[in-house]
Every structure is written in C-alpha cells, then in structure tokens.
C-alpha cells in the first residue's frame, strides 16, 4: 500500500490533472515578496515549487522559504534541494529539518555549477549526485535509516521528485539517466521548459515503463523580446517561430500578449491531456505571474 503524505501526491494518485508553479526566493531577508506571490498562486495551483539557489545564485534558503509559504499562505510547496551546496551530512540534516517544518515534497536537483553563479569561486560540493540523493531519500522514507544505515527517530514523510529535460540533445542518455532515477525510486518528474508539444510527447512516451508521474514544464513569455532571448541565449531551448510570431504581432500590448499565451498554451495543454499520460503542467514565469492563473482558468472543465 502506497503511503501518501502530501496533497500534491494525493491529487496525482487520484489521476487529477494538476498544475504547479514556481517561486524564486531572492537575495533578501524579507519574506513579503514570496508571500505575496504565493497568495496570487494559491487558488490556482495544487503546489508551488520553491527554488534552491537557482543558476548558482545565493538566495534565501528554499526550506525556510517553503516553510514560510506553507505557514503564512497555506499553499503546499515542492521544495527544491540541490546536491551542489551540501554534502551527504548536510542533505540528511536538511531533509530532517524540512520534515520537522512540515515540508512533504522535495525536488532533487543537481544544481547549475558554481562557476555560473554570483559567487563563482565557491567550491561546488557534489558529494553525491541527484540519483544517489533519490536513493538516499528512499532509504530515509521507506526504511527509516540514513545513507550509512543509521536509524532515524520518527517517520520521514517526503515525496521525491526529479527534473527531466525533454530538449536534451542527445536525447537517449538523458532518458537513460532518468531511468536510473526511476530505479532509485523517484515518484514524480517535473520537466525543463518545453515549447514544442512533440518534444514533450516524445519525452513522456520514452518513460512509459515503469511510469513516474510527469509534469511538463511551460514558460509563457511576457514579450516577443523574451521569447527571442530564450530562443537565442538559453542553451538547448528553441522557441517555435509560430509562437514568436504571435507575440510579435501582439506588439507589446499586454492584453494581446496574454491572449496569445492563453491560446498557445491552452492548446498545448489540451493536446497533452488528450494524447499522453502527462499528469499535469508546471508553469514557470519571469515577471509574468498573473498569466499562471489565466492559463489554468482557460483550460478549466477540460483538465
């Protein structure tokens, strides 16, 4: 009998088509920003990811930010945890602390290399990798022991997620790596942003047995400029011309940009819902938070 600890996982097991989004704590001591964002998202998503030093930038701790959001807003979180900044001792102690604070979902992440970040001379840790982190979490959750077999007092009630990249080129080693993660016991996958529905489909198809829950990542752009930037400057991600064209035509008009995004992504979501076994959608944004609820509302009744 599968033990379920979180509302997010309960919805996945009930075969609901779920929506999640993402909040990035910044280099600040003030929690108001993340609390306000979480309030915006609360009625639209089942859970919200909280990033952990994204792009190797040192920001507010993701566990603390997750706790604050759950306590202040009542929105469940999926707490990111990278192996870049912690050795196995720190990972174990952070997981125990996260449990004590009522965090139920952890997304295991390798983490961008420190050289990409805002403290580029920092020592990157990577004592264990993300696959081994999943293996360790399974031991903590299922057997009540840590990596070395030491007994833990009380139950570790955590669901374990991983990231996947449908844009990976070459594609096969990415799939093989995710299969190692599935063998290690990962329960859900949230993907890197995808614009091309065929790429998303191919990814889901490759991971059909044994199947983890898969949430496809999307990224509505708030302008043509942003779409161009992602297409040209973000390595490995291409933005289809037809999407860029509609944004171009919207010509910086906020309403039209919104409309274009709602149309493009609701079509994509409907297609994924209809033709694949995707469990949901993970919506990421930059300075465009209000689109999250609008896109989700647009597919209400269908999803």
């Amino acid at each position: 009998m599968k033990r379920i600890f979180s509302e997010f996982m309960k919805a996945l097991y009930n075969n609901s088509f779920v929506f999640t989004t993402e909040i990035e704590p910044k280099k600040t001591v003030n929690p108001e920003g993340i609390i306000n964002l979480a309030r915006k998202f609360k009625n639209h998503v089942i859970a919200c990811n909280i990033t952990d030093n994204p792009r190797a930038h040192a920001y507010m701790n993701s566990i603390i930010a997750s706790y604050i959001i759950q306590r202040e807003v009542g929105l469940e979180t999926i707490c990111h945890m990278t192996v870049r900044d912690r050795n196995r001792l720190a990972l174990i102690s952070d997981v125990l602390g996260a449990c004590a604070l009522g965090i139920k979902n952890i997304l295991t992440i390798t983490g961008d290399h420190t050289t990409m970040g805002d403290n580029p001379n920092a020592m990157p840790v990577y004592d264990i990798d993300s696959t081994q982190f999943i293996y360790m979490l399974r031991k903590m959750v299922d057997e009540g022991i840590d990596l070395a077999g030491n007994k833990i007092d009380g139950e570790v009630r955590i669901h374990i997620g991983a990231v996947g990249n449908p844009n990976a080129n070459p594609f096969e080693p990415e799939i093989l790596k995710i299969k190692r993660k599935i063998n290690a016991g990962v329960e859900f996958i949230q993907t890197q942003i995808v614009f091309d529905v065929e790429r998303a489909k191919r990814f889901i198809e490759e991971l059909k047995a044994p199947p983890p829950f898969i949430l496809i990542g999307i990224f509505p752009c708030n302008s043509y400029r942003m779409a161009e930037f992602i297409d040209k400057k973000v390595p490995g991600i291409s933005v289809p011309n037809e999407y860029k064209e509609v944004l171009k035509k919207a010509n910086e008009n906020k309403e039209k940009i919104d409309e274009s995004n709602i149309e493009y992504f609701s079509e994509m979501i409907k297609e994924l819902k209809k033709t694949t076994r995707a469990s949901g959608i993970h919506i990421m944004t930059i300075k465009y938070e209000d689109i999250v609820g609008k896109i989700i509302d647009s597919v209400k009744g269908i999803c």
């Binding site: 390798t110 961008d112 264990i128 990798d129 993300s130 081994q132 070459p170 080693p173 990415e174 093989l176």
Partner: protein
Amino acid sequence: MIKLIITKQKPNLLKNLEKYNKIFIIGCGNCATICKTGGENEVKALAEKLGDKVIGNIVIESPCNLKFLKKDLKPFMYSNAEVIVALCCGVGVQSIVEFTNKEVIPGLDTLFLGEVGIKGRFYERCRACGTCILYETGGICPISRCAKKLLNGPCGGMVNEKCEVGNYSKDCAWILIYKRLKELGRDFEKIIEVHNWQNKPGELILGD
C-alpha cells in the same frame, strides 16, 4: 604516454617577490619542465626579470624527491637566501620546505594529474581521489572530467554534447561515457553507488 602533474604559472608572482632582496630559484627537471612552467628556460626568464635580487638558481631533476634534493641542492649557497621561489608542483614546494627549512614561495599553481597530448596540450585525467571507478564508467573518469563529479549520467548543463562549465567548449564526460559503454555493448542501467572519498590526512601509504 607520459602522465604528469600539470602546473601553471602563478599570477602576480613578481609583485609578491617585491619585498625580498635575496632570492634563490628552484626549478623542476621533470613535470614542470614538460609543462614549460619550471624548466631551465622558465627559471632563466624569472631570474632575468628579478635581476640582482637573485643569488642563485638551479633546476633539480625532481624537487619532489628528497634524494635528488639532497644531491643537487647541497653544494649551493641557498642558505643565504631570504626566500626560495619554487617553480614546481605543491609536492615539490613541500619537499623543499622540509629539506631547507627556508621560507618557500610557490611560483606555480598545481592543477591536476594530466595526460600529455600532442602539441603540448595537457588533459585532466585523474584527481587521485582514492577510489577508482574506471571500470564502471568504461575507462573514462567522471570524477576528474565531469565538472560536477557526477556518477550517474549527464546533468541539465549538457547541451549538444558539451558542458555548461567553460561555455560549452568542452565535451560532457557523461556523453563520452555513454558512447563508450554503448560501444562496449554494456548497459547503462545500474546505479553507481555513492563515492568513498577516502577522507584522511595525507600520509605515506606505500613503501616500507
């Protein structure tokens, strides 16, 4: 194929030597000579830059070997020096400290254990981590060749077979491993376990 300890010249060395007036320079006839960081030419070049401040210089066959240090260094008047500049790896610097009991300034940064390729290129191949897993990875070392020391496949920083570290100019070690395992007809399923980093203070582990 030779493998050796790869070094590069330290930035700001001359500036750090400004306050000294009696400097002795020691070069390395082995690895640092091949790296062109501490051979005859480099020792001579540094001595020229420092001019009158240099009271002597020598290239020792292997400064990391106490036997050579004893044999080659003894006849020299390094004992008048305020400071010794060592153009060799960190091992050599420490041997010189032990042998001379002088203040020694490293002139080089020690980078890695390297393979010597053609055209004087050096490739990082081993970090002497203490637990060799080369069999499991088809003979390609992810500890030294993957920037994140990952053991179970490429990360999200791999784009078109290249690594995010170094602005996508270097091969992703895990793509090399994936291809090699495929070539060998071996599967990719088994998870490689957590690494044993052999944590202990550095000590002599071989020899009588």
